[in-house]
Symmetry: C3
């Protein structure tokens, strides 16, 4: 039926990850862009009103995955002059900046990793997917129209706990983003507040970030500053990056990220990432990336590799970590 558009990304690479004690080499999926397969459509309802749906699931090109599902996005929307009302599973509004102002798009060995800085679901007790996750389920969102480059988005994600449970707010999330885009300038502010904790103790996680980029043509520098606070813990971080075209088909990218742990001494980390991307067409790119993470004696930050089977070797506290990727990405 013409009312459905299929789309996707297939990205595979040979990737090598090293810590001070070990290394592993294998096939990774989604080092430049997360591999995915999706189905979407939009219907014109007349009078400026539209209805749309978007179903998008992760792919693991390296091993075919374990169970395809619409974990990246599953939404239904009503759109009009008033903006958009969107229901379902989606990226957190505040997470969008982490991607947008990272030259590596927060993916692959070069990605900055400025989300879930206090930890995933296990560490950030009482949340479904971490202290500041990429996505959340059960969202009702309002996205404003774009007025002279200014746009806002507000989300509420239901934790769905019954009212007679202690601390039944656990899992509720509010997230918001305000952005201003007037080429060559883009700037955006994001915020998320997550109710979490245990039945006995309520905890609130708060994530704030601000990003900006300016496209000079020969080079596009960008900056992202992000903080997370909650449960007596805190991390401040920033990314400084740039992308620059090299000839007709090439692009060079560089990113430097610094993490400052607030509640533990000597637990900071820094990351430097370099990449070259060569377009074989608008849809197909070959690339090479390398990144190095340096950890203080009490930190063990590494890489988040988007692959079903390739996992980084154990990174002990104080270890350095190095990652390389050579691959190809195809969109359809």
């Amino acid at each position: 039926q013409s009312s459905v558009t299929m789309f996707g990304v297939v990205d595979a690479s040979v990737t090598r990850l090293s810590s001070d004690s070990a290394n592993v080499t294998g096939l990774a999926s989604g080092e430049q862009s997360s591999s995915r397969l999706g189905f979407r459509g939009i219907e014109d309802l007349g009078g400026g009103l539209k209805a749309g749906f978007w179903l998008e699931g992760s792919l693991a090109v390296d091993n075919g995955g374990t169970s395809y599902r619409f974990d990246r996005r599953s939404t239904i929307s009503l759109l009009g002059g008033f903006g958009e009302v969107r229901l379902g599973r989606d990226k957190l509004a505040s997470y969008l900046n982490v991607e947008s102002f990272d030259p590596f798009g927060d993916i692959g060995v070069g990605g900055n990793g400025l989300n879930n800085m206090l930890g995933g679901a296990a560490a950030a007790e009482g949340t479904a997917e971490g202290s500041h996750p990429k996505r959340s389920s059960n969202i009702i969102a309002y996205i404003s129209p774009n007025i002279g480059g200014l746009q806002g988005q507000l989300q509420y994600s239901f934790g769905e706990r019954p009212s007679n449970q202690p601390n039944n707010d656990r899992g509720n999330i509010v997230s918001a983003r305000v952005s201003y885009q007037a080429s060559p300038l883009e700037v955006a502010l994001g915020y998320a507040q997550l109710d979490a904790g245990t039945a006995a103790t309520a905890v609130t996680y708060k994530a704030t970030n601000i990003g900006a980029s300016y496209d000079f043509g020969v080079v596009k520098p960008m900056v992202l500053i992000a903080t997370e606070r909650g449960a007596g813990r805190g991390v401040n971080a920033y990314t400084l990056g740039a992308s620059a075209p090299l000839g007709q088909a090439g692009e060079f990218r560089v990113g430097y990220t610094r993490f400052n742990t607030q509640n533990v001494d000597d637990a900071d980390s820094s990351k430097l990432a370099l990449g070259y991307f060569h377009k074989l067409s608008k849809r197909t790119v070959v690339y090479g990336m390398l990144a190095r993470v340096s950890n203080d004696n009490n930190a063990s930050r590494g890489f988040a590799v988007s692959s079903s089977s390739l996992t980084a070797p154990l990174i002990a506290a104080g270890d350095s970590a190095t990652g390389y990727s050579v691959g190809v990405r195809h969109t359809f």
Copy 2:
């Protein structure tokens, strides 16, 4: 390829469910129509013969689901003047009446719930999916041609237990349906017999139902009577309902359902459901529904909400339960 048609339903709503002791509010998927994504095709083989396939899987728009699979239907068919032979997983013939003669289509807070009245797979020991499930796997079916509005369907579902197991008939199902449809009248009779129990004790579940509707134009009343018997237990139930157009785009629906438990005293329930559905187009509908269940002192019936993450709060014996839904449904 032109030989495949993609189709589906994306339905999300804000839903609130209450019992006497608690309530929960969240995002539900499939309150008006079950959310789904499917692939189907039909090939003309010449001489009046056709081959067809149908692959349809559930969606959970609220959280993207856990594993997409073809749980709703996966069949291959040969069709001709003789009717249709269909192999695979499909709705039970006898279940079709439970949907057809419920103004809410046996889905969402308003749905009547006249299937699995003796219980799901755990309660109805030895069956794969309950005492009278919506669907079964391993079906070989014959569907007659429509002769002057009269049509019949006969199914056999293999339990697939080896012959040397005690009570190896467990899981075998026979189901049949006869329907007569001559607008504005529709009437249908359904029957299913399920072999079940344990290795030591064989049990047979029997489900019978009859439904009728008559479309007067200004209102379409309908009635459904259903019974289940097995393992010394029994439930009789009926639904009285109606749908009525309201202007060009609106539709009002009402349903009243009464459950009579035969083998336990003071364990009856009744349910009243109201809904309004407003078409933004042929494919997109916004809706609101509310339903209330009243339970006798020994009954605890509630709602079957079609969502991966939203679950009704505990309904204690004798509790009343209330459900609301406001949502949007889009078909493609």
Copy 3:
């Protein structure tokens, strides 16, 4: 989008499997061809270069499956005059012969089963999917151009174990195939070497096979010889088969397979399979197959039925086993 082609096979049958002690009858999926649903595309990059992707997942038509995923193939390729570089999950090069030179395509009750002859993942300790599996994840492959009918393929599959694990080669696979095809003759040689074992003990599995077929028009005889060695165990096997057209739409197939276990006495088996396939169109076929396995006193070989829920009854050592299938297959 026109850049994606959907394709698949839907194959269902009524199948009966017997051992000396029991039998089971049910619905099977994929007795003639494995049921599947896939998405693929190819992009012309200019200058003779192309990019392609292929995502293909198993279907279980009998029960809808448990979790759809791209277990059959998930690859991205760059193709040109130099041949093809392919990354992802794919069939082992050496396995292709097992399918190609079996008249039943190594599927259904008639399939020869000349893969994983020393055992699946559990028996072939340290491998991901067996002693000589159909497929492997994390493959980087080079496929040569076809030069006068001659073609070669070389694969390396990463086991992806960290360097500081004992025996960290476990899971690495090298596989190669050389084929010559000049109608009516086809001949091919395959080899695979799998690193396996435990942390304490390294094991290497080696699989070798050679196949040939010659299409005389009225009949196409074929032969396949396959061996596996490893962990002090070994199996030699061969298949002799033929297919022959019967009229415009029919095809008759016969296969005889003999297994010789090298490391256990009196543990050989033989299998005879017959089938008739009748085309209702190029895309739709009805078929009937029967096969019988005879086991020596210390062997218990049976059938590999491609179905989510139908499983063969226990075949005790020395048992004979019989299988029948009557079904329909539709491609799209």
